[in-house]
């Protein structure tokens, strides 16, 4: 399984903070997004692929369509606003 976590405005917009997707035939982040839209609807694809959304795998920022492995934690979130 791949654990997907969502934060801040993205969490609120999609109404979930954590979901799981099967790791079968999932090789990259784009596959994770496809799985999520199949399960939860096209709003998810729109939200997760929107221009400023950042992605982390196992709590490290990744760029582009990074590879994903079974057991990974994939996080989607908007730009940070701490400090």
């Amino acid at each position: 399984m791949i654990k997907v976590v969502l934060f801040a405005s993205l969490r609120e917009a999609l109404g979930k903070s954590e979901v799981e997707v099967s790791a079968e035939e999932v090789d990259r982040i784009s596959d994770v997004i496809s799985r999520l839209s199949q399960a939860h609807g096209d709003t998810w694809r729109e939200s997760l692929t929107s221009e400023n959304i950042l992605v982390a795998i196992n709590q490290n920022m990744v760029a582009d369509d990074h590879p994903v492995t079974d057991g990974d934690e994939v996080a989607f979130f908007p730009p940070v606003t701490g400090g």
Partner: protein
């Protein structure tokens, strides 16, 4: 080097934090600190309260990487980063960064570097309640530029 990272709901004690940085090494001759306070006005709207969410685990790991970046660049003996989360009110202390060094130039530069990267690399998100509406804040372009000033190959990975 002594490092202390706290992500917490509770208040912190600036005097105690400063004292601990001083005592981290007898080499510490100067301590630069920054204290951030929640303001009651943001972009002309009156702020009633602030909610801070973060990504537990990743936040601490990102702050560690930021401190690594500072330690690579300057001679520093102690760094403390404290960031509050949860519900905050105007005038509450929200963030503290303190750096102890032998040289004041190193303490100042490292402290400002850590603050600049906290703003753009640490996984915190602020939601602001103003009157009856609330909104998630967006990153300020000036903060992106501030962090950009320090950038080199090493830090772009932070």
């Amino acid at each position: 080097m002594r490092r202390r990272i706290c992500v917490q709901e509770t208040v912190f004690d600036v005097a105690e934090e400063t004292r601990e940085i001083r005592e981290a090494s007898h080499k510490v001759g100067g301590i630069a600190t920054f204290l951030g306070v929640v303001r009651d006005i943001n972009e002309d709207a009156e702020v009633a309260n602030l909610y801070l969410e973060h990504y537990p685990g990743m936040t601490e790991s990102q702050i560690n990487k930021i401190i690594d970046g500072a330690a690579d660049r300057w001679q520093i003996h102690a760094v403390t980063v404290i960031h509050r989360i949860g519900h905050l009110l105007p005038n509450d202390e929200i963030v503290f960064v303190g750096v102890g060094s032998e040289h004041r130039g190193d303490a100042f530069a490292a402290c400002e570097y850590v603050m600049d990267y906290l703003k753009t690399q640490a996984t915190f998100w602020k939601k602001e309640q103003t009157g009856t509406t609330s909104r998630w804040l967006s990153t300020r372009q000036t903060d992106v530029e501030a962090a950009g000033r320090w950038s080199s190959d090493e830090t772009e990975e932070v």
